[in-house]
C-alpha cells in the first residue's frame, strides 16, 4: 500500500520567546526522497518532532489525503532514525528489533524470519545475539535503521543517519533508503552532508528561520547552491591556511613504540609539529579512534611519549580530549558559563583556600564565550538551550580553557551545520597557530581537506605515511588518495 501525500500548512511553533517554526509550508510526496537542509536552530528538529507526533504545533496543520494527520497516526506511521541511536543497550540487536512488536503471546517472543532477513540485509546478522552496549556506534545506528524498517511505517525520517558510518555502510544505507522510497513511502533525509543530499534526494528544501527558504531540484540541485543558501557570508578559508604555512617545523609531540594495551595498534610512531593540525582517518576498528584516545590517557597504552618538554604521564597531562558525543563532555545540570569553566581549578576560578571567585568566573566565561564564538543569550541559561553547533563550541572551549598543548578531538563537527563547522575550524587553526598541536579523528574527507595540514590513514592498527593536504588541489584528489591508502593498508 502506498502512503498518502502529507501537506504541511502554516506550521507555527514557539518556545517561550523563541520562534522555532514561523508558518512553514511543505508537501511530502510518496515515492520521493526529500532532503532537508538548514543551519542548526533553523527549525529542522522541531519540524521532525511535530511530524513524528512527539510534539504539538501551536497553529497550522498537517493533512494526509484530505484528513487531519493526528498525533496518534503520526506515532503509528512515522519512524525516526536518530543521529544518536535511541535504543536499549542492555538488549541484543535482535531483541532491540522486537521491542514494541512482541505480539500478545505470553511466551518470550522470538525473532520472526522477516527480522532475521532484515538483519542479514543490513549486515547485522553476526551481531544479532550480541548486547547492543557491546556493539560499535555504527552497528547501533544500523540497528536503529533496522528497527524503523521492521515497523510497518509509511513515513521514514532519517536524521543524520550515516554520520558515523563508513562509506560502504553508507552506500548500503542509501540503497535501503531508495528501496523504501521506491516502495511508495515518504522518505525524508536530514543531513549536513551536502554531497549526500545532491546524490540521493530528488528535491531539497532549505529551512531558515522557521520556514522554507528555498526549494532546489533538477539542475538547480548542487552542493554549491545548497551551501549558498546555508551560509550568508563566504568564508575565505584558504587564506587562513596560507597564514599558517610559516609554522615552526619543530616537533611538539613525539610517540615511539606506542602500543595499545587492548591490541588496537602496536609499535606506532607519531610526530605532531608545533602549529599543526593532524587528521587521523580510519573506519571503526581500524585503531584510529583508539590511538587518539590513548594520547589522551583514556585508552591504556604504553611506550615513549613526549609533549613539549614533558614525557610520560606529565606529557599526557598536557593534552585535552573532546569526545565524539557532546553527552560525554557537557553537563546538563550546569549553565553555559559553568560548562565553559568546569575543567579549571585554582588559581583560575578559586583562591588558595578553594573559595570560588565569582567575579572572575563571570569574566572568564564571558571571555571564553566571545573568543570561541558561542552564540548564547546569557551565560546563566542551561546548556541544552544552545544549538548543537554552539554546544560543540562549548565542548571545545571547555577543553581549551585549561590551556593544553595538544588538543585531541573525535569527529569535531559531527552533526554541526556548515556555519558553525567553519567557525570551529577557525578556532582550531587559531589555537594551533599559537604553537600548539591538534589531532583529530575524522571519518569525512571534506573535514580533513578543510581543517587539517596532514592526514594519516590508519588501517588494521598501522599508520600510513602522512599526506600533506596542501599537495591536493581539490577534495576529490585527497579522497582518492585516502581511499587508496586505506585499501592498501588493509591488503598488506
Amino acid at each position: 500500500m502506498r502512503a498518502v501525500a502529507i501537506a504541511i500548512r502554516a506550521l507555527r511553533k514557539n518556545y517561550g520567546n523563541t520562534r522555532a517554526l514561523d508558518g512553514l509550508d511543505l508537501d511530502l510526496i510518496p515515492g520521493e526522497v526529500l532532503g532537508i537542509a538548514g543551519p542548526n536552530g533553523a527549525g529542522k528538529s522541531t519540524l521532525m518532532r511535530i511530524l513524528a507526533g512527539e510534539e504539538r504545533q501551536d497553529t497550522g496543520e498537517l493533512r494526509a489525503g484530505g484528513t487531519v494527520f493526528s498525533r496518534a497516526e503520526a506515532a503509528r506511521l512515522v519512524a525516526v532514525v536518530h543521529q544518536e541511536p535511541q535504543l536499549f543497550p542492555n538488549l541484543t540487536v535482535a531483541e532491540n528489533l522486537l521491542v514494541g512488536r512482541e505480539g500478545g503471546n505470553v511466551m518470550r517472543p522470538a525473532s520472526p524470519a522477516s527480522d532475521r532477513a532484515l538483519m542479514e540485509a543490513l549486515g547485522l546478522g553476526p551481531y544479532a545475539a550480541r548486547p547492543l552496549a557491546d556493539c560499535t556506534l555504527a552497528v547501533q545506528q544500523r540497528t536503529e535503521i533496522a528497527r524503523a524498517l521492521a515497523r510497518d511505517a509509511k513515513v521514514f525520517l532519517f536524521d543524520e543517519p550515516n554520520s558515523a558510518l563508513t562509506d560502504e555502510e553508507s552506500d548500503e544505507l542509501f540503497r535501503e533508503i531508495h528501496k523504501l522510497a521506491d516502495a511508495g513511502n515518504i522518505v525524508i533525509l536530514v543531513t549536513h552532508r551536502l554531497g549526500d543530499l545532491v546524490e540521493h534526494t530528488a528535491r531539497v528544501v532549505v529551512v531558515r528561520d522557521g520556514r522554507i527558504a528555498a526549494e532546489l531540484q533538477g539542475e538547480a540541485l548542487t552542493e554549491e547552491a545548497i551551501a549558498r543558501m546555508l551560509v550568508l557570508e563566504e568564508h575565505r578559508h584558504e587564506a587562513a591556511r596560507g597564514a599558517r604555512e610559516g609554522r615552526a617545523e619543530t616537533a611538539l609531540v613525539r610517540a615511539h613504540g606506542w602500543t595499545h594495551r587492548g591490541g588496537a595498534f602496536a609499535d606506532v610512531s607519531l610526530t605532531v609539529a608545533r602549529g599543526e593540525i593532524l587528521a587521523l582517518m580510519g573506519v571503526e576498528g581500524s585503531g584510529a579512534r583508539e590511538l587518539l584516545r590513548s594520547l589522551a590517557g583514556v585508552d591504556p597504552a604504553q611506550g615513549e611519549i613526549a609533549v613539549a618538554e614533558a614525557t610520560g604521564r606529565a606529557a599526557i597531562a598536557l593534552t585535552a580530549y573532546v569526545p565524539a558525543t557532546r553527552q560525554l563532555s557537557l553537563y546538563t545540570n550546569l549553565s553555559v558559563g559553568d560548562n565553559l569553566l568546569v575543567r579549571l581549578a585554582r588559581p583560575d576560578i578559586a583562591d588558595g583556600m578553594g573559595t570560588l571567585r565569582p567575579a572572575r568566573m563571570r569574566t572568564l566565561a564571558a571571555d571564553f564565550s566571545r573568543r570561541f564564538l558561542v552564540k548564547t543569550r546569557t551565560l546563566t541559561q542551561g546548556i541544552r538551550s544552545l544549538s548543537g553547533g554552539n554546544q560543540q563550541k562549548v565542548a571545545i572551549a571547555q577543553a581549551l580553557a585549561a590551556r593544553p598543548r595538544l588538543l585531541l578531538l573525535e569527529e569535531p563537527t559531527r552533526g554541526v551545520d556548515i556555519g558553525a563547522r567553519r567557525e570551529i575550524y577557525r578556532l582550531l587553526e587559531a589555537y594551533a597557530g599559537e604553537g600548539n598541536g591538534v589531532v583529530m579523528y575524522c571519518t569525512e574527507v571534506p573535514e580533513m581537506f578543510e581543517a587539517a595540514d596532514r592526514v594519516i590513514v590508519v588501517s588494521d592498527g598501522r599508520l600510513s605515511a602522512p599526506l600533506a593536504v596542501a599537495d591536493h588541489p581539490h577534495v576529490e584528489a585527497l579522497a582518492t588518495e585516502v581511499t587508496r591508502l586505506e585499501r592498501h593498508g588493509r591488503a598488506s
Binding site: 553537563y331 545540570n333 570560588l356 552564540k375 546569557t378 551565560l379
Partner: protein, 347 residues
C-alpha cells in the same frame, strides 16, 4: 560574530551563575509550603503557633537536618548513603562505650568517635569507587554492619552518663561539658543544638555553593563520565563526600546523645528514611548534580512541622507516616511538573 553577552537579573542571584531560576522557584515553593502547613495547623489548633512549639520544632528537626546536610553532599555527586542513620547510632553508642565504660575523657572520646566516622566514610567510598560496587549496595551493607557494631560494643544495652553502670563513674565536669553541647536556656528552653544545625548549614552551604569543591561535586554528579574524561578527580571527590557524610552523621549522633542523654543500640535507624525525605523535599535529585544546603534544611523543617503539628492534633501515629509519604512524593511530583512547565515555556 558572537552576540553580546547580556547579564540578566537572574545572573545576580548566584555568584557561580548556576541556573538559578529553578532553584528560586523550588526554595520559594518550599517556603510557601512551610507557611501554609503552619497556617493550616494554626486554624485547626490555635495553640500551634507559639514560641514553645516553634522551638521544639527547631530542636526536633535538627538531627534530621544535620544528617541530611551530609547526605546532600553524597546525593549531589550522584551516589547514595543509606548508612547515615546507622552511623548516627554508632556514634552515640561508641561514645557511650568509650567514655562511660572505657573511661576515656570526653574531650578525647569525641574525636575518637569522629575518627571512627572517617573510617566508615573511607570504607563506603573505597568500596564504591575502587571496587565499583554501587553505593546503594555498599551502604545498605554498612547500614547493617554499623548497627551490628552498635549491638556488639554495647552488648545490646542502653547507657545514660547520669547513671553509669555499677563500677563505673563519670566525671561531673565532663558530664557538664557533654550536656552543655546541647544546653537549653531561656524561659522557652531553647537548645544550643539548633545553633549547631545552623552552623553546619553554613559550612555545607559554603562547601556546596561557594567552593571549588562544591562546583566540581555538582559537575561530577551531573555527568560523571565527562568528569572522568576531563580528568576531574572523580574518585577522590566521591570518597571525600562519603567521609563528610559519615562525619556529619556522627556529629548529629553525638549531639542527640547529649540532648536525650540515653543511648540505645538501634538509635537512628528509623531516621534513615526521614533524612532521605528531607533531602529530596529540599530539591536534591537522586540522579545527582542537584541539591542545596538550604533546601535540605527547609525539607527537614517541613517534616518536623508536620510531625509536631500532627502530634499536637493527636489523630494517631498513622497520620505522621502517611503525611511523610505523601509529602515526599508530592514534593517531587510538584518539582517535576514545574520543571516541565518551565521547559515548555523556555524551550
Amino acid at each position: 560574530m558572537a552576540e553580546p553577552i547580556v547579564q540578566t537579573r537572574a545572573a545576580r542571584f548566584s555568584a557561580a551563575g548556576r541556573a538559578t531560576f529553578d532553584l528560586t522557584l523550588r526554595l520559594g515553593g518550599l517556603a510557601v509550603a512551610i507557611v501554609l502547613v503552619g497556617l493550616v495547623f494554626q486554624s485547626l489548633n490555635d495553640a500551634f503557633l507559639n514560641t514553645d512549639v516553634i522551638i521544639s520544632i527547631l530542636r526536633s528537626m535538627s538531627s534530621v537536618a544535620i544528617m541530611g546536610l551530609g547526605l546532600t553532599l553524597v546525593i549531589v555527586i550522584g551516589e547514595i548513603d543509606l548508612s547515615v542513620g546507622a552511623m548516627y547510632g554508632l556514634a552515640a553508642n561508641s561514645l557511650a562505650v568509650i567514655w562511660i565504660l572505657g573511661g576515656v575523657p570526653i574531650y578525647a572520646a569525641i574525636p575518637l568517635v569522629l575518627l571512627i566516622a572517617v573510617c566508615v566514610g573511607l570504607f563506603n567510598g573505597f568500596l564504591t569507587t575502587t571496587l565499583r560496587i554501587p553505593s546503594f549496595i555498599v551502604t545498605l551493607g554498612s547500614y547493617n554492619l554499623l548497627y551490628g557494631l552498635s549491638l556488639y560494643v554495647t552488648h545490646a544495652s542502653t547507657f545514660n552518663p547520669n547513671y553509669p553502670p555499677e563500677g563505673f563513674t563519670v566525671d561531673d565536669g565532663q558530664l557538664a561539658f557533654f550536656v552543655n553541647l546541647t544546653k537549653q536556656f531561656g524561659a522557652h528552653q531553647f537548645s544550643v543544638e539548633v545553633f549547631w544545625m545552623l552552623a553546619l548549614t553554613l559550612v555545607v552551604g559554603f562547601l556546596l555553593h561557594r567552593s571549588l569543591f562544591g562546583f566540581r561535586l555538582i559537575a561530577i554528579g551531573g555527568n560523571p563520565v565527562a568528569a572522568q574524561l576531563a580528568r576531574l578527580p572523580v574518585r577522590r571527590y566521591k570518597i571525600v563526600a562519603f567521609v563528610l557524610s559519615a562525619v556529619i552523621a556522627a556529629i548529629a549522633g553525638i549531639l542527640d546523645f547529649s540532648f536525650i542523654q540515653t543511648s540505645q543500640p538501634d538509635l537512628g535507624l528509623s531516621q534513615t528514611f526521614p533524612v532521605f525525605a528531607a533531602v529530596i523535599i529540599g530539591g536534591a535529585s537522586l540522579a545527582g548534580g542537584k541539591g542545596t544546603a538550604i533546601g535540605t534544611l527547609g525539607g527537614a523543617l517541613l517534616l518536623a512541622e508536620l510531625q509536631i503539628g500532627l502530634a499536637l492534633l493527636s489523630p494517631g501515629p498513622h497520620a505522621q507516616q502517611i503525611f511523610l509519604g505523601a509529602v515526599t512524593i508530592g514534593a517531587v511530583a510538584l518539582d517535576l511538573s514545574l520543571t516541565r512547565l518551565r521547559a515548555r515555556r523556555a524551550g
